[in-house]
Symmetry: D2
Subunit: 323 residues, 4 copies
């Protein structure tokens, strides 16, 4: 492996820069040339690719976002688009590819590998933590801490006014961010897609709390919950509980940015290094991940299709801790 290229794609996540930095420096360390592709698959198609060295990634370990930018490419979904992309890589003599992103990125990477055979190793960069093959994804710990910081601030105002707050966090179809920020934020209740909580149960849980003299309450809602988003759930609840002051807060895109936490910088560095060293050792069509503190490689197929269930112990904890 003498020449590789690297890109960041899909939703951005804090730690992508740290991952990029580790892959680039790992390449330099092992004497491999490395090129950075701007704006994900769109940049690959357009040939928006530059040579990188140690200095290209100086001082980015603490930065959120990604210096290579990111995009969700429509053109790459077509055969012609992918052919163009392959031509660009061939021109430069690229022999291996590192893709940092989520399942959209890996879906594209898998198809691209099947069609053109360029060895590809991925690194899981997404705040949702919903990729199989790694205990945690790059950006997850930071997003949880960001959500938690916001919940801590909202609690101040909920407590001052004896309010009921519904706080919506990201996660697409998973409750990972919700369950951890909910437990950490002392939430009364956490509503996630992985479990079914009816509006009836929400109201009775809250009323039991008020009967025990709790004055303010926080309910954390994962954006993909089956009862709807925070706004919809709050509306349904308000109809039944007219006497309480009910507010909604949608944390939104602050969860995607910010300086990565210690855990994310280290995870990202391990995976960036794992990706380049994996390519060098002959890995292909796989995603690098850390499971039980060990570096492992999982097929793109499995990482996208297999399910990584939510720890049920955590769901049970919310109930006990809000007694």
């Amino acid at each position: 492996m003498k020449k590789v290229a690297i890109m960041t794609s899909g939703g951005d996540a804090p730690g992508m820069n740290a991952c990029l930095r580790a892959a680039v420096r790992g390449a330099v360390y092992h004497g491999v040339e490395i090129y950075g592709i701007y704006r994900g698959y769109d940049g690959m198609i357009e040939g928006d690719i530059v040579k990188m060295d140690s200095h290209s990634v100086s001082n980015i370990i603490q930065k959120g976002g990604t210096i290579l930018k990111s995009a969700r490419s429509e053109e790459f979904k077509t055969k012609e688009g992918r052919k163009k992309a392959y031509e660009q890589l061939k021109i430069l003599g690229i022999e291996g590819l590192i893709t940092i992103g989520g399942d959209g990125t890996f879906t594209g990477a898998k198809i691209f590998f099947d069609e053109f055979g360029i060895p590809t190793v991925g690194a899981p960069g997404t705040i949702d933590n919903d990729l199989y093959g790694t205990d945690y994804t790059i950006g997850f710990d930071t997003a949880v801490n960001t959500a938690l910081g916001a919940i801590d601030k909202i609690r101040d105002t909920a407590d001052s006014h004896n309010r009921l707050f519904f706080i919506e966090v990201m996660g697409r179809d998973s409750g990972y961010i919700a369950i951890r920020s909910g437990i950490g934020g002392g939430a009364e209740l956490v509503m996630v897609p992985e479990t079914s909580t009816s509006i009836k149960e929400v109201i009775s849980t809250l009323q039991e709390g008020w009967a025990r003299h709790k004055t303010s309450s926080i309910v954390v809602v994962a954006e993909g919950d089956e009862e709807g988003n925070a706004m919809e759930i709050a509306e349904k609840v308000k109809k039944e509980i007219s006497q309480k002051d009910v507010k909604v807060s949608i944390l939104g895109h602050i969860q995607r940015g910010g300086s990565p936490s210690a855990q994310d910088r280290i995870l990202a560095s391990r995976l960036g290094l794992g990706a380049i060293e994996g390519l060098i050792k002959g890995e292909k069509n796989v995603m690098a991940g850390i499971i039980n503190d060990k570096l492992v490689y999982t097929s793109f197929e499995d990482s996208i299709t297999k399910n990584k269930p939510l720890n049920q112990e955590l769901i049970h904890m919310v109930k006990v801790l809000s007694v």
Copy 2:
């Protein structure tokens, strides 16, 4: 002045606890008994009042929210309600009152003073900074820094994806938080109620930026802007600019909480001390404030009715700095 009472009321703001602490310790220092009223005017009406001492306010200087809680009282708006409140104060022999809050609090305080004559000194506790009689209100600096922190995080993701973001901040009818967090966050444009910016101007400003090769843009919108809130403005803009990825983020209640900044802890301490020392010196029906670094007292009437204009220099700065 031998016995006074203190309360926090209206929307809560970071620093209210620091203000309360300074007033209580100032009272102890001067040998005056001080009672804390829970939940604002509602607590006054119900007699939910406890004696406080130095120890009651230990370790609260860094806490957001208010340990005395807050409320917006409907009953206090009635003559009967205010009579009940007065009776409660008379029972305890309260000779003076300190009210920490915003203009709603001072409106009530003024009427109460006119009716019953209990000397009252207020301290401006509100994140909106829209009270005349003080350069800054308690909670404003913290709210601006909170909004700024959120904008910094959103910028990471805006830059990664070349997006246009509309970020809504609080402020009721003023643009104070918007203009400062907008400048600090490097916003392309800041939309505030104090100036008129049409959708046409918004679009042309953004397009000029894109012509100068800016890829991502941030527009900060004060919730009271005349063109609508961030969601409404984003909708109007999307109709004209179809090619850009447009997102909206409503920062919401995180702006009301959190540990107060250094500036807010010091301002709150000066004003809490200024309030109790003002009462002792014979001030009444006034709000304590800091103007040009000096403690001043302004009538409740003026603090509520007079206008504190936005610094036009700051509005001009947004334009120059986004060149």
Copy 3:
């Protein structure tokens, strides 16, 4: 198990309050009475013990420090001291004990159990992460993030002035905090007790960096490194490299405090619950820990005497990443 007591002891760590909260609420949930002992073993000896309920631990999950206070008891090291302590527990009818602390705490707990047989389950509360029987200790993640935040700030000034900075972090005899904050902070070199790095190697590593045009450098030093502390190492290096501006920063006690991170709040909650549920299920003379995401119980003996080696992969990473 009808009555248990809980205490925090040794050096304090962020997350101890969250652990206490989970144990108390777990006890309430399971119908077990729980008493809080102030100031560790000293409070046990003095009978400084109070009954606790759900409300006793409201709003403490986000607080650093410990509401039960902590102490390092000299008297408990004596047979008489421990006898007095036992008498106090007998008076109250305490049948089980939860001790949150480090190896000093567990050493005492083990001896106490051997002498008097009160079932005891410990939870690892220490920022050093040097306890066998758990992947991470409560307070570790927060301390690493605190050290990292400080390193990020120091880097700003190091880069502005092309300086060489030696930054000392805590850890007693282990390099856990150093290696993680070092990698996360982009350190040139990390000096830990677990590996031997001579001053000669320090200087040649730095000089290679300067030859590659690095202008500023950061070296993280664990307080227990064999070459000495940061001040001593800096002195030795200054003698050889006269032309460079060398500074030292000892991060100190900020690493012990602050609001616990998301990871610490969740770990602490799992272990607090694991401790009380362990006692109820008949565990004794053990420490609750999380290994590979599973709750496990390890004898106090093993937790104190067995070694938990530093991940060598991390040490190798520092070298590759500073290429």
Copy 4:
């Protein structure tokens, strides 16, 4: 004024980048060419100067440190050094100079102006806030908040262990940072060079606090205090109070870095703009500052020599608030 140059010099301060950004964009806005000088006066002597435009300062408003780097130049103190520097500016046709720094920077600027007559406007960039001609200097608010954050963390551990902590903050010969972070951190006592506090007074103040049942205490010490630094003061106190656990923490260089606060970004932007617009309007040999919210220009001579006294009201507050 068609061509100007700008530099950052002396100790670095958070906000220097924001100031640079505003000056550069102000220059572009007014059609003036602007050049950036690296490493202060050393870079001026070496001709390490590059042309800057709007894009050069993108995304730096939130960064600590300075992208132009800084240095304390020995060579500029010599006549030959300054002649070389002048020659470099002449080659490029530089007609005006903006110097961001502290009194060392302005001392050099004043002499340079007297010798060669290039109009120079300075902007006060230093965390010490000891420059006359401006209420606050760029970097001060951030440094105070950084010190305050550290004190908050140390308080957690002080309270857990009933300790006495001496915390040393920066400030050179002034007590600005100490008094504000001390008040904000609820310190028992603040020792600053501007007032004389004997060890006897320190001990009696602390003992009065312990008599009132305070268990932990925090004393903030400005590095320039007349009784010595924190370590020396702690030693003197330990001799008299043997029973108390006494610790020292020297906050050090974290106070120089980090992302600038909202206040610093706005102050820096106003002063950067004020500097370039001042040059354009004919100002020379002056420092731009903000006094009572208005932009003013003060001679370098006055800014360096005149004294800006500490607000005595703040010193009195420490005493009242720790009652």
